[in-house]
């Protein structure tokens, strides 16, 4: 998932003075020490494995996700792990290992589509809404607050029904799942970007741009957007893990992708419900562990990033080996960057700006 975590980077800053070391994630990795670095590295490794499994699924998996037979005949249902099927076969007669590996591909696709869509829509709405204000802004805020309070999975179910009637092919299923998750995430990006926009548009540099005669669009994209994307990598990693859990939840409730058109961990767990009762463990344990490890990796990265950008939670490097100003630069999760014009005053809650 490193790709998704870094996705917002290209829009983040003009890269004149900044090197690759300043990229989100990499910057925090360099900054971290001790336990926090361990957590971040462990998370990145798990994420790496997940992404690699997703990309190279056809090479890694011994069979296809929907394969029921090979040259030597039908696999057979609920076969215990053996040399031929390392992780056994499912109740439907599929190879568990292959479905676990291909499941990573489905999950990655869903995360990518969901996060890209929600960033685009959420950021655009937040930017426009926060920049122009007015009644449309108020209406959007109320709607987003309402949706934000809605239980994620339930909303995803409803959206899933609306999109696909609850049953789908691979791409149909991926888009249904991704869109259902998108709807849940849009309010989060909207809220963050809007709050940042409201804060930044009161800054002097926006004022001066307006005086020069820059268009609203130019101010929004060049001045406001680029200063308001600081927290996105953090939200993206946390959302990615939530996306996997929501996808798995949807699959578990029978809203997944049909087994013949794609592998999905949640769906496989749903099918293994009855297996467990009769002591067949391999159909449940492996897809479940895949979910746990993937979410674990994403969460570890998200948690560490969150701690690292919050000076109160960050473990400090000892003074001797410390960088010149470890706090100054990234201290400002809610507020934005200290380096931005406006400086620390920008951190004060803006009185009349709500």
């Amino acid at each position: 998932m490193a790709t998704a975590a870094e996705a917002p980077a290209p829009t983040a800053t003009p890269r004149r003075k900044r090197s690759w070391k300043q990229l989100p994630v990499i910057h925090q990795l360099r900054q971290s020490v001790g336990l926090q670095r361990g957590m971040l590295v462990a998370g990145l490794v798990l994420m790496g494995i997940f992404v690699l499994a997703a990309i190279f699924a056809p090479l890694l998996a011994p069979y296809s996700y929907g394969q029921l037979r090979d040259e030597s005949g039908v696999f057979g249902a609920q076969q215990s792990p053996s040399g031929e099927h390392w992780l056994g076969t499912t109740v439907g007669g599929y190879d568990v290992l292959s479905r676990v590996i291909y499941g990573a591909r489905t999950a990655l696709l869903v995360i990518l589509v969901a996060i890209l869509l929600s960033i685009v829509v959420g950021v655009l709405l937040g930017l426009v809404s926060g920049y122009f204000g007015g009644w449309a802004d108020r209406v959007l805020v109320v709607i987003c607050d309402a949706i934000y309070a809605f239980p994620t999975l339930l909303l995803a179910i409803v959206v899933g029904i609306a999109i696909s009637g609850g049953q789908s092919s691979l791409w149909g299923g991926i888009f249904a799942a991704a869109l259902s998750i998108t709807v849940v995430f849009i309010p989060q990006y909207f809220r963050v970007i809007r709050a940042e926009t409201v804060r930044i548009k009161a800054e002097a540099f926006v004022e001066s741009a307006r005086v020069i005669g820059a268009s609203n669009w130019r101010i929004m994209t060049r001045h406001v957007l680029r200063n308001s994307t600081r927290t996105l990598p953090l939200i993206v990693t946390l959302n990615a893990s939530e996306a996997i859990l929501t996808l798995a939840g949807l699959g578990f409730l029978g809203f997944g992708i049909q087994p013949t058109s794609g592998a999905e961990w949640g769906y496989d767990l749903n099918r293994s419900l009855s297996d467990v009762t009769s002591g067949i463990w391999w159909t449940a344990v492996f897809p479940g562990s895949a979910i746990v490890l993937t979410v674990l990796g994403l969460t570890l990265v998200g948690e560490s990033l969150n701690d690292l950008v919050d000076p109160r939670l960050r473990t400090r490097r000892r003074a001797a080996e410390g960088e010149p100003s470890p706090v100054g630069e990234v201290a400002v999760v809610p507020g934005g960057t200290l380096a931005a014009p406006g400086g620390i005053r920008g951190l004060e809650p803006l009185g009349g700006e709500q």
Binding site: G34, L35, V142, D145, A146, I147, A149, F150, P151, L153, L154, I157, V158, I161, A162, I163, G165, G166, Q188, R191, V192, R194, A195, R199, L234, I235, L238, E242, L245, A248, G249, F252, L253, G266, L269, S272, L273, V276, T277, S278, G279, W281, A284, V285, G288, I291, V292, V295, L296, T299, G302, E303, N306, R312, L313, T315, P334, P349, G351, Q354
Partner: protein, 368 residues
């Protein structure tokens, strides 16, 4: 809308200790009474938006009768049933009728078993409530003390272990945890029952009660049969643990972050300089103010808990709202789904309201 980052991240328990109440404050006068009224008026548009969203989303693919019975009935019969139910009228007419029904507490009638949705709620709601209460008890008992321990040992081994556990509980889908519990404790060790709320014998016994509360533990106690009580409790252990540990992980992280936040506050330093012991500092000075932001985000945990309950019930065949919801989903009975989802949304909105009021009662700074 106030600054939102703190609210945004509370799903991952990163709410900052002192910041949240301050950013929520508006520089305006107004007592508690005014706050309650304003906050109450705010849930009306919330519920309205949620119900509207659900209604229109559910209708984008067509009417519920075609969805449920399409392909199983000849077209003319299908059209007749659609007409009888009024689903061939303009969408807006149906929408206002639906809204009107909700105002009177009528959430529609299910298609598959022709029951009023409110009736479904009354029958199965108590089961979900019972499970949620058990889970909350587990979450409080496990999550809050461990969160304080983690904060106390900040960045040392116990903290690291506890945090990994908290993240693990978050990372494990509640249904997978449930499956593992079933596998280990019910199938391999054979200590606890596999599924259900009670064994058949107890269910029959319970159904003989005159006015059952639906809350199995209470009903079993009223029966006065110790075996029934034991049976009911045994069935509750695994689902409560699965759902409770998920929530406990969230609580642990919340408590840890907030206690660390308040631990660095000036008044804690002041107390320390007066010679107050570290344990007492944590217990009396850092912990209590840390509770306020925790209470304010418990409202959001209710949403997570409800979703978790839906999945846990499906795993353990715990016959509550979630179990029922899954059944209706599989039957493609979208009227029932719509009703249950709308109801759960209302429950979440109302809970958030109550939680906000409690938070305002505790901390005067929270008020608008």
């Amino acid at each position: 809308m106030t600054t939102t980052t703190s609210e945004l991240t509370d799903s991952s328990a990163q709410e900052d200790g002192a910041g949240a109440p301050v950013t929520r404050r508006r520089r305006r006068g107004g007592g508690l009474g005014r706050y309650i009224v304003v906050r109450f008026l705010l849930i009306i548009p919330t519920i309205f938006i949620l119900v509207t969203t659900v209604f229109f989303l559910m209708r984008t693919t067509g009417d519920p009768i075609t969805a449920a019975l399409g392909g199983r009935l000849p077209p003319d019969q299908l059209a007749q049933r659609v007409h009888d139910a009024g689903y061939d009228r303009p969408l807006f007419v149906q929408y206002f009728e639906y809204l009107g029904g909700i105002v009177h507490g009528d959430f529609g009638t299910t298609i598959s078993d022709r029951r009023p949705v409110l009736d479904v709620l009354k029958t199965f709601g108590t089961a979900t409530l019972e499970l949620s209460i058990y889970a909350l008890i587990v979450a409080f008992i496990v999550g809050i003390p461990l969160g304080m321990v983690a904060a106390y040992f900040r960045d040392r081994a116990p903290d690291a272990i506890l945090r990994v556990f908290a993240i693990l509980f978050y990372a494990t889908p509640v249904f997978f945890l449930g499956l593992l519990f079933k596998l280990v404790f019910s199938v391999w060790l054979d200590w606890l029952p596999v599924a259900g709320r009670a064994s058949t014998g107890t269910e029959i016994e319970l159904s003989t009660l005159a006015h059952p509360s639906g809350f199995y533990l209470i009903d079993a106690l009223r029966l006065g049969d110790p075996e029934a009580v034991q049976d009911v409790l045994q069935h509750a252990i695994l689902p409560s643990l699965a759902l409770g540990l998920l929530t406990a992980g969230i609580f642990l992280r919340l408590v840890r972050t907030n206690v660390i936040g308040t631990h660095g506050a000036g008044y804690v330093e002041a107390a320390r300089s007066r010679g107050v012991g570290e344990y007492r500092l944590l217990r009396k000075h850092a912990y209590r103010p840390a509770l306020i932001p925790i209470i304010t985000v418990i409202g959001l945990q209710v949403a997570i808990l409800l979703v978790g309950a839906v999945l846990t019930e499906t795993t353990f065949e715990w016959k509550g709202l979630g179990f029922q919801l899954t059944k209706y989903l599989q039957a493609r009975d979208f009227v029932a789904v719509q009703g249950i989802v709308a109801l759960l949304a209302v429950i979440v909105a109302v809970t958030n309201f109550i939680v906000d009021i409690i938070a305002a009662l505790i901390d005067p700074r929270v008020r608008y």
